[in-house]
């Protein structure tokens, strides 16, 4: 079973990195979304995988048996999903607004913060 997960996660990471290496902001954004899913699956797999039994304590028991899925990574991933979503929304809007203000979606042309041929800083006191 792990080999399936591992393979998919490897694909997620490879695709995410390839997209993030692009010059264009929207592709970088798509890469970040894939990276988020890849990381979530990575955490999920690292907590070991169990089929179909959710970590919910039955009404007639007081503790969870060992056959159920591991709840700890699930708790971590659940918040991670929501945070990734907010982050995605923010980046999406940032990309759009940058496109609107700068008229480009190529990171090479976004040079407001690091302009080329900047003069030397003053050497006096």
């Amino acid at each position: 079973m792990e080999i399936l997960f591992t393979g998919l996660i490897g694909l997620f990471f490879a695709a995410a990195v390839y997209l993030m290496l692009s010059k264009f902001t929207i592709r970088i954004l798509l890469g970040i979304v894939l990276l988020g899913n890849g990381v979530n699956l990575l955490l999920f797999t690292a907590g070991r995988i169990t089929r179909e039994v959710p970590p919910i304590i039955p009404a007639d028991a007081s503790t969870l048996g060992s056959v159920a899925a591991n709840p700890l990574p699930q708790a971590l991933i659940l918040t991670a999903i929501v945070i990734s979503f907010s982050f995605f929304a923010f980046l999406l809007v940032l990309t759009w607004r940058a496109f609107e203000e700068l008229g480009t979606d190529s990171t090479d042309e976004m040079l407001l913060a690091e302009p080329r041929d900047e003069p030397l800083p003053p050497t006096g006191y």
Partner: protein
């Protein structure tokens, strides 16, 4: 008050800091009269330390302190012996006079309060420095004096010269401070103690250690920079950009002596070795002669004094390292005498400046009628500096020659250096203390007038003390110099030298010095030309190197930034992911830690495999998407496939969340994408595709292998068991995932929802706030 309670000493140590806080308020209320009130703080400290005199002169030490971080063996503790006490009295005593003097010197200046505050800050730091017992406290105060000096030199911050001098002093002494810190760490590692009082008895162990030389060099790096020894001397004359009270106090009487203090304090520990007895006298001697020569070349009263201060510091270093008790006694006597006469002369220079509007020697003359009180103070101080009988300076000079002129061949060089230095300093003393006041009057920018009481009180008291100490030398020896010399040598010592000259070689040398000094003074202009000629030949000094160093540093960092920060995002990301891939893969292959390959997807159900394939297809489609719709749809596909995978493997909570998030993502992606174009193809040249593809595959492989490796190790269910066991029992919840989120790790969740909310605000701000042009 002999056995004062530790609390009183603590208060005395912190009184200057307290006054530093209050000074600006007092000045804004009372104007320059506030200085007289502020001066009470150092005066009270002075009185407190006077209370130690009888105890210390009886050969005892006073200690006290409070635990600071006991687990690290750190404490705020003080240790007062003859050396510390003499310094403490000089600092607080001269400090009192300086505060009063400042009130007169900067009368009406709009930043007088700030100035007093800085001076008192420095005073507190210096006082703490000389009574510190623990290394850390010593270092903290040491750096604090550097910072206070920076603030004071740059006080007149609207002039570039002042800014440069301040920065230079900070860089040089700050670098020295770091060197000292490293040296102290060496001392601590070798001996295992962090307190000076304990260290003093461990000298033998230290001198045997292989780390002796590194420790010595590092400590000397601190001491030499602080005390302006050649080749780090250049910051001191530049520091004369500061207002005159600062020059009189920090840069002659106290701060620059911190280096000498350190050398004296560590003499029992580091001293007595060939390295110590070669390095210190050599650098001290060079500093002495160089300082005197450059000093005679100057025409500005303050600069002349500045270079003689440098020369005096060289003399002190030379004597401290000379290696005989006699030389130490001479150093102690000279240190006390120097603080008195040099402080007085600097204040006189300030008073002359105040009274005439200039400090240029050729412009000054005949001031004795207009400024009689200042003249008396100047003349007395100059006599002490020149070492004329009856003055404290005389005791010091006799002792110096007695110590140096031992007939030892090694000593001949140092005797010659002392002779030349002393003669030139005597000439400068006369030039500063006599020449402006005699002869015929010159035209000066202001009509000469006597300084107000605040300006002459300090010089008069200090100059008079030079005479009193000379005449009543047994008193001086009993209470100040003998205990101090005992502390430096680390065995009881009694200084006996009196003011009556006794015939012998030292007296002969003294006579020679005075004769030479008077000769140079009479031919001052020719001596100045001669010194200038000698120095021209040496080329640019370290002062110029400092400028070149600073501008070189700026150019270097600008060039470096251009290389590591070229302004192209893809380069940063490429570098980051190459590092990530290397971090993941290199150790796996290097240490042969590759995971065992599991055998195929055994036991996987068809529907499970199907969703893995769908997710993979979604990813590949996202990679190849050429238009908006394909990108959105394929992104949704992989997301929903992941949601189903979560559901199939026992995570319904994750699955629902993922479903909702994917739905909302598609909605807002659609909303934004309609306003944004997606480049039809991802323009990458083939070479770029190869490079990016390699990095991407390496990263994917790295994460996959790391995961396999992790899954292959035995699972530690400690945390999981805890949650499974206590979820219902303690937190009354059956859904363990939810219980972890809202109860066990609730504080985390609080932080996370705060992040969600901040993102919402940021998005709103991005959308709603538009700069100018898009109004319609």
């Amino acid at each position: 008050m002999a056995a004062a309670a530790p609390a009183w000493t603590f208060i005395a140590l912190f009184l200057p800091f307290l006054a530093a806080i209050l000074a600006p308020f007092l000045v804004s209320r009372l104007g320059d009269r506030a200085a007289w009130i502020v001066a009470l703080a150092p005066a009270l400290s002075f009185l407190h330390f006077c209370g130690f005199l009888s105890e210390i002169s009886a050969g005892e030490v006073a200690t006290g302190g409070y635990a600071w971080a006991p687990s690290l063996n750190l404490s705020f503790s003080w240790f007062i012996d003859g050396l510390s006490l003499t310094f403490a009295l000089l600092i607080t005593g001269i400090g009192t006079l300086i505060v009063i003097y400042s009130g007169g010197y900067l009368k009406g200046h709009r930043h007088l309060g700030r100035f007093l505050s800085f001076i008192l800050l420095f005073m507190g730091a210096m006082l703490g420095l000389v009574v510190s017992d623990s290394f850390l406290m010593l270092f903290v105060y040491w750096e604090l004096t550097s910072i206070a000096s920076f603030l004071l030199i740059g006080f007149d911050h609207e002039r570039e010269a002042a800014r440069r001098a301040a920065l230079q002093a900070l860089v040089v002494t700050g670098a020295g401070g770091l060197s000292l810190l490293a040296g102290l760490v060496f001392l601590w590692n070798v001996t295992g103690v962090t307190q000076l009082s304990l260290l003093v008895h461990l000298g033998d162990a230290l001198r045997m250690s292989p780390f002796y030389l590194p420790a010595l060099f590092l400590v000397l790096g601190g001491a030499f920079t602080k005390s302006a020894q050649f080749p780090f001397h250049f910051w001191l004359p530049n520091a004369m950009e500061a207002p005159t009270p600062v020059s009189a106090y920090l840069h002659s009487a106290t701060m620059v002596k911190a280096g000498v203090y350190l050398l004296m304090r560590l003499n029992p520990v580091l001293g007595g070795t060939p390295a110590w007895e070669i390095l210190l006298p050599f650098f001290g001697g060079v500093t002495l002669v160089a300082g005197a020569l450059i000093g005679i070349r100057q025409t500005d009263l303050k600069l002349m004094l500045a270079y003689t201060t440098m020369a005096s510091l060289g003399l002190l270093t030379m004597l401290t390292g000379f290696g005989s008790p006699h030389a130490i006694e001479a150093a102690v006597l000279y240190l006390v005498a120097h603080s008195l006469f040099k402080g007085a002369l600097f204040m006189v220079a300030g008073a002359v400046d105040h009274g005439t509007g200039t400090r240029e020697l050729p412009l000054l003359g005949g001031l004795r009628r207009a400024m009689p009180i200042t003249f008396v103070a100047a003349f007395l101080a100059a006599c002490s500096m020149g070492g004329l009988p009856l003055f404290a300076g005389f005791l010091a000079k006799e002792e110096i020659y007695a110590a140096l002129a031992t007939g030892n061949p090694r000593a001949v060089f140092f005797t010659a250096a002392a002779l030349v230095g002393n003669a030139l300093m005597f000439a400068i003393a006369l030039a500063v203390g006599l020449k402006p006041f005699v002869g015929k009057g010159n035209q000066t920018p202001l009509t000469p007038h006597e300084a107000p009481v605040a300006l002459w009180l300090g010089p008069v008291i200090l100059a008079a003390l030079g005479l009193v100490f000379g005449i009543f030398s047994p008193l001086l020896h009993a209470y100040l110099t003998s205990p101090m010399a005992s502390a430096v040598i680390d065995e009881p010592t009694v200084i006996t030298i009196g003011t009556m000259p006794h015939l012998g070689l030292p007296f002969g040398l003294s006579l020679l010095t005075v004769t030479l000094g008077i000769l140079v003074y009479r031919e001052l202009d020719r001596a100045r030309a001669l010194a200038a000629q000698m120095l021209e030949g040496l080329g640019p000094g370290p002062d110029r190197w400092f400028d070149q160093f600073v501008s070189g540093l700026v150019r270097f960092s600008a060039r470096l930034v251009r290389i590591i920060q070229p302004g192209r995002l893809e380069i940063y990301i490429t570098a980051t992911f190459i590092a990530v891939a290397a971090t993941l893969l290199v150790p796996l292959f290097l240490f042969d830690e590759l995971p065992a390959m599991p055998s195929g997807p055994a036991g996987a159900l068809v529907q499970e495999i199907a969703f893995f394939v769908i997710a993979a297809l979604g990813i590949v489609t996202v990679l190849r998407a050429a238009d908006r719709l394909t990108a959105i749809v394929s992104l949704g596909i992989q997301g929903f496939a992941v949601a189903v995978i979560f559901l199939l493997f026992g995570a319904p909570d994750l699955s629902f969340t993922q479903f909702m998030v994917e739905t909302l993502s598609v909605v807002i992606l659609t909303l934004v994408m309609t306003r944004l174009r997606l480049s039809v193809t991802d323009h990458r040249p083939p070479g770029q595709i190869l490079l990016d593809g390699t990095i991407a595959i390496a990263c994917g492989l790295g994460f996959a292998l790391m995961l396999l490796k992790a899954v292959g190790t035995p699972f530690d269910p400690f945390m999981t068991d805890f949650f499974n066991t206590y979820s219902k029992a303690i937190a009354h919840g059956a859904n363990v995932v939810n219980v972890i989120i809202v109860d066990f790790r609730g504080t985390d969740t609080l932080g996370e929802i705060a992040v969600v909310m901040v993102t919402g605000l940021a998005v709103l701000a991005l959308i709603k706030l538009r700069v100018g042009r898009r109004a319609s």
